[in-house]
Point group: C2
Chain length 89, copies 2
């Protein structure tokens, strides 16, 4: 199963009864050189800044997950967006 | 299975023999209001610009997948990074 299929299968569950705007961002980094510092925590803030150009993001509505394991790192951002009327576009 | 587990399982395959730097970014948007224009294609360029602050990204090494289906959109960026020596950090 491809990643897009996986995403689609998890997202379609329950979306019929809860019509919320949601944005989920995943950044996965496979590192060849393990000793170097990670830039994902910094990326996290910058990606949020970019998203805020398009929609209002309440920082209380952002949940962040960061995992590091040997040469793999994963950053996950889950954002519940305000309703459509508050879009900046 | 959680998304992080899924990510981990796909990423660990084959990583022992090919030690490449890789960055995978997924943005999934659940839209409550279907009629509005999508900003994911614009986000794509801006996220790439942010990443380029940290690492050299050869545009030929970026593959982009964008899917839209009813109220779900998924943007996927797969980037093969240059070797560690070329990092901007």
């Amino acid at each position: 199963m491809g990643l897009l299929d996986y995403f689609r299968s998890t997202q379609s569950k329950g979306s019929a009864n809860v019509a919320k705007e949601r944005l989920q961002i995943l950044v996965a980094h496979d590192r060849a050189a393990r000793g170097r510092p990670s830039y994902l925590p910094k990326l996290q803030q910058e990606i949020l800044d970019v998203i805020r150009k398009y929609v209002d993001v309440d920082m209380n509505a952002v949940s962040v997950n960061y995992e590091q394991e040997e040469a793999h790192e994963i950053l996950e951002l889950n954002i519940v967006l305000p309703e459509a009327g508050h879009s900046r576009l």
